[in-house]
Amino acid sequence: MVDERVPGRAWRSLLAVLLVGGTVGGLFVTDDAWPFAPFRMFTTAPGPETRIRAVRFDAVTVTGEKIRLKADHFGLRRAEIEGQLNRQKDLDPARMRALFDNYNARHHGDERIERLTLVLAGWRLEDGRPKQRISERKSSWPPQR
């Protein structure tokens, strides 16, 4: 005697349809709809002469020492800062200030910084191979006079 009963067959079927539907439907929404979101990792298709750049920061401490900072120093991942760049591939003043204040709130004395500059740095590809180092300075906080 085979027992064909499936307890909760109806709601289990419905949930399966919703989860699968959500997974496929994720293609048509944005990351804002997580857990259902488009699978857009590594979907860009750079050409053989592309500039490949990543965010970092140059800072000057109160003693005048030049230091290099990464997104981690502000509690963030690099992609999280890159995801908040504006159309000019820059951070707006409010965010630059937030980073500056955040760093100084957690550092004391000589470790404090008096200037923070966003830098986009990386490599230029030539014929598909990284050939030339590039870097571009973006906005600073406090703003440059």
Partner: protein, 311 residues
């Protein structure tokens, strides 16, 4: 009698039969027990070590907090160093507790809730990773499957199928995103070069000198992403080569840019007859229909027949 009943079935009945065979295939509940435990160990490792960067969000500037829709809907505020540590501990403690599998559903539900908060705080800063969907779905269905009782083998089959389908779909859908955004130029582009320049390993940087090899890998990558749709079928003969291909796809990615997607790739195990490979305690189950190694040989309680050929 039985044969004539089968042949005289109407279209809706046949559809219903297909639906039940696909979504409610009886599977030994021990397989789910083993999968749950392996997944929980990976989950605890993930939140303690692999994702420890999430703790930094506890002191990140709030101006960068961009909660996703679900987080806004439940009014989840930006984390503090304390609240995020509490949630990390909640995932670890509920995860370890759930290893005991009693109460099986309630303990997994606790992991599900705490892990959801953890992920919302991970992804609430304008960067969503796409390798956590299967984990999230798995924890949800783990919370809904009883270990014993009449329906256990069929609900186990349901849970595994849901996990398998969501896992499998992530690959062709990724391929679709790539082809949608970049067209067939994607596999001919320099996307792997870009990924390696941005975060490559020593092995990856060595590969930079061979852009043609990287392009070839891109063709292989997208081929296996598309082929993963075959994981949706039940035949192990079709599935096995694809599973192996997907494994090497992840292995190569790990070698070149040190991303292993373990919280996602661990679900390759959801396709394997774990209960046959990992010996269990020899105990007679109280309820024969609940399956397990020592269950009475019943067509329903037996391990998934299609998977038997693989072992």
């Amino acid at each position: 009698m039985a044969t004539s009943a089968l042949t005289s079935r109407t279209q809706p009945e046949r559809l219903r039969g297909w639906w039940d065979r696909y979504w409610f295939e009886p599977v030994s509940p021990r397989r789910l027990d083993l999968l749950v435990r392996i997944v929980l160990v990976v989950l605890v490792y993930t939140v303690v070590d692999h994702d420890r960067w999430v703790l930094r969000h506890g002191w990140a500037p709030e101006a960068f907090y961009r909660p996703t829709a679900l987080a806004r809907w439940v009014h989840l505020p930006a984390p503090t160093a304390t609240t995020i540590a509490v949630v990390q501990w909640a995932v670890v403690l509920t995860g370890v507790f759930a290893l005991f599998r009693r109460p099986a559903r309630l303990s997994c539900a606790a992991v599900f809730v705490s892990y959801t908060v953890w992920v919302l705080w991970s992804f609430g800063w304008a960067k969503v990773d796409h390798d956590r969907l299967t984990m999230w779905v798995a924890l949800l269905v783990f919370s809904l499957v009883p270990r014993r009782g009449v329906g256990a083998p069929r609900s186990t089959g349901w849970a595994l199928r849901v996990i398998q389908v969501v896992f499998a779909l992530s690959y062709p859908l990724s391929a679709f995103s790539k082809l949608d955004k970049a067209g067939w130029y994607w596999p001919d582009s320099y996307v792997f070069t870009m990924a390696i320049v941005r975060r490559g390993t020593a092995f990856g940087r060595w590969l930079l000198d061979y852009p043609e090899l990287l392009k070839l890998s891109q063709w292989g990558f997208i081929f296996f992403e598309l082929a993963a749709v075959l994981l949706l079928v039940r035949s192990p003969k079709v599935r096995m080569p694809v599973l192996v291909g997907i494994f090497f796809l992840h292995f190569f990615t790990w070698l070149a840019i040190s991303i292993h997607f373990l919280p996602h790739s661990i679900f390759l195990l959801a396709f394997l007859p774990l209960e046959r490979w990992i010996p269990g305690r020899r105990e007679a189950p109280r309820d024969p229909t609940a399956g397990g190694d020592q269950a009475e040989p019943s067509p329903l309680a037996a391990p998934e027949p299609t998977m038997a050929e693989t072992s």
